[in-house]
Amino acid sequence: MTLNELLPSLHALPRADKLRLIQLLAADVASEDGIAGANGDTTYPVWSPHEALDGAATLLRVLEQEKAAS
């Protein structure tokens, strides 16, 4: 199947599927070129406790307790 034959079907894809296709093709090209990078099959964890406000309050309380005891 040629690209010209595929194009009508690709254009008819929903927006989300088009984005997914772009990601897959970019990953394919990167893989063929031996470039390590982000691809759609890999999860990259973000180790960020940016909303751990309750935990932060707990730590402050522990610090205050130590200060009061010293």
Binding site: V46, W47, S48, P49, A52, G55, L59, L60, E66
Partner: protein, 141 residues
């Protein structure tokens, strides 16, 4: 010392400056136990985080830490407990730092708002791949 500048560190040289992050050398002490660590200075983190293995290296016993700390995001999957350590950065005087000691090793040392940023003023110069630290309240150059 009133201010100290640190370079950003490329965590993945193949990605160059895209992977440059403000990792800072810090010495952590628990009683007589002392270790050097590389810590991520993270202004978006609500609190400090310590991976499990570093706590063990510092001689801390998990079962003796009784205060649970609620974490968020991916970190929420692992239990964490409050741990007080002493930290020293460059030639600054040591400060008491409170950590959420995670049961996971898959996390860097994170220095966040509580209470690293309560003790140090930090200014990031990302374009220059530098950041500057001084004790909170210090106005000298």
């Amino acid at each position: 010392m009133t201010a100290h500048r640190f370079p950003y560190v490329q965590v993945d040289p193949s990605l160059g400056d895209a992977s440059a992050l403000p990792y800072m050398p810090i010495t952590l002490t628990n009683g007589q136990q002392k270790i050097g660590a590389s810590a991520l200075v993270h202004s978006g983190a609500a609190l400090n985080v310590l991976p499990y293995n570093l706590g063990i290296q510092l001689g801390v016993v998990w079962e003796q830490q009784t205060v649970p700390v609620a974490l968020s995001g991916n970190l929420a999957a692992s239990e964490a407990r409050a741990l007080l350590l002493t930290g020293q950065v460059a030639d600054f005087l040591p400060v008491r730092l409170a950590f959420a000691w995670s049961r996971s090793n898959n996390v860097p040392v994170i220095l966040g708002q509580v209470n690293f940023f309560m003790n140090f003023d930090v200014c990031f110069f990302r374009a220059q791949l530098l950041y500057e630290i001084r004790r909170a309240g210090s106005t000298e150059d």
